[in-house]
Amino acid sequence: MESGRIKVDYLSRLEGEAALDVTIQNGQITDLQLNVFEPPRFFQSFLVGRKYYELPEITARICGICPVSYQMTALSAIERAFGVQVSEQTRSLRKLYALSQFIQSHALHIYMLAAPDFLGYESVISMASAYPEEVKRALRLKRLGNDLTALIGGREVHPVTPQIGGFSDLPSGKSLQTIAKRLTAAMEEAMDTARLIGKLSVPNVEWDLTYVALSQPQEYAVNGGRLVSNQGLDIDPADYRDYLHERHISHANALHSTMSNGSSFLVGPLARVNLNFAQLSPLAKEAASLTGVSFPSNNPFHSAAARAVELVHSIEESLQIIDKLGEPRREDGGYIVRAGCGAAVTEAPRGILSHSYCFNEQGVVLAADIVAPTSRNVHNIEEGLRLFIPKHLDLPEEELRLKCEMFIRNYDPCFSCSVHFLKLRVHG
């Protein structure tokens, strides 16, 4: 297509609502807009005036897929504001809890979004006839992830047990051992997932990507660590607002995130695996070789491979944590409410999730800032499309449109969560 317009009024198989509008003249993109028209939900505004203990419950409702990440991030930010130190047991259980979400979310992305795209099916339903065993495997892995979430959190969606300093209820050692048997049995299925990814042919598009993730020397960072990039960023995550910037753009309800130098950046599984390959479990490293991808990779289409690697890692580390936990014991979760501010970043399945709150002496929220992973990626998606589309202008228009959708889906964006607004001050 030398000149013309690619218009996708409603991008399908994405979480939330967005459209793409690209104008091409004489083989050059003259305009490209990823229009996130999902309406904002004003969470940051209505959190103001609520009590601190309501935050994990309320913010979990931002996302039905990643409620665990919202709870973990809110709790960490509150604990930072109040100076609460959590026990080793709580830290381990929280990691296990977060990994349970990686298992279910990654299994679904790989089998319900990536595999149909790369195998040429319209959806997982049409793929299921030719690949029944693979789709059954996806359902089993998702069930396992959900059951692990429910075991720790009390239920699989919008769980209830996490609280400041720990958990209101604990899984028994016996129940953890029971699920450990299922995790052990699922390991081969996770490795098969990496094998499947290795057979898929993905488009080759690479550019000078900046990727950002949490990182810790001793473990694969999910709930803690420093915020680092491949371009030298290395900060306390609580300072995220000083280094990761946001700006309004006219065509999207999601803000565009940039580094201090104005560049876009990538967050999510590929960023994590690229930056933290050394901390992956032994089998996850083996899975990486099965995918055929050499990490670090600058091709965003390798995100599905990174998810497969993390799926294996999540199962293997979950088993290690359960082994270490033994019989969880009830702990005193006392803390003192005080005025102050706290911020935290955790790794949700789709990338870094940032929360920042300020409280008065009664623990009432005075200010809230929440930045979802997709919001971080929107600018990067647009930038990537500007490079990806010119390489495929020889394709028929419909095929090019599908390729653009595939490119966007590959980030597994959750536009529902990405929309948030900065506070608008009107001076009169």
Partner: protein, 155 residues
């Protein structure tokens, strides 16, 4: 007697008449039903519906449906009549009722109920509003559906 029939109500309690399927199950809970029947208010189970259906001989699903007809009417539908009825997936990370059932019968036929009846309660698009209570037609539809299901279970 073993439990061999399940009645599953679907819908959201937070979205006006979307809750009619759940209300129908609530009404059934107050009725005298045969002992081999289990009632489940499932909410929005997505793929979890397959776990709720697994192992039962007979299943009755009750849910709100959008039709051209007046609200509050009750329809009995079979699986093939649902095909193509969902305009888009509820979410990419979960599936709407027709897709979940299609996937279940395609992949796990041996676990799925041999007999599946879908009871649709007609609602209006305008009644599916967050935070709104059920409409008078919605309440009537839930009553009618519960009555129909109770009669079917008694046979």
């Amino acid at each position: 007697m073993s439990v061999e029939t399940v009645v599953i109500g679907c819908g959201s309690l937070l979205r006006g008449d979307d809750a009619v399927g759940l209300l129908a199950v609530e009404i059934l809970q107050k009725k005298a039903l045969p002992p081999n029947v289990r009632l489940v208010a499932a909410g929005l189970p997505g793929l979890g519906l397959l776990d709720l259906l697994a192992g039962y001989e007979t299943a009755l699903l009750v849910d709100a449906v959008l039709t051209d007809g007046p609200a509050g009417e009750v329809f009995e539908l079979c699986l093939s009549e649902l095909e193509g009825s969902a305009t888009r997936f509820a979410s990419v990370h979960d599936l709407a009722l027709p897709e979940v059932l299609a996937l279940g019968y395609l992949l796990k036929k041996e676990e799925m109920p041999q007999k599946l009846v879908i009871i649709g309660i007609s609602v209006e698009q305008g009644s599916l509003v967050a935070g709104q209570p059920l409409s008078a037609q919605g309440l009537l539809g839930a009553e009618k559906a519960a009555c129909l299901i109770a009669k079917k279970l008694a046979v």
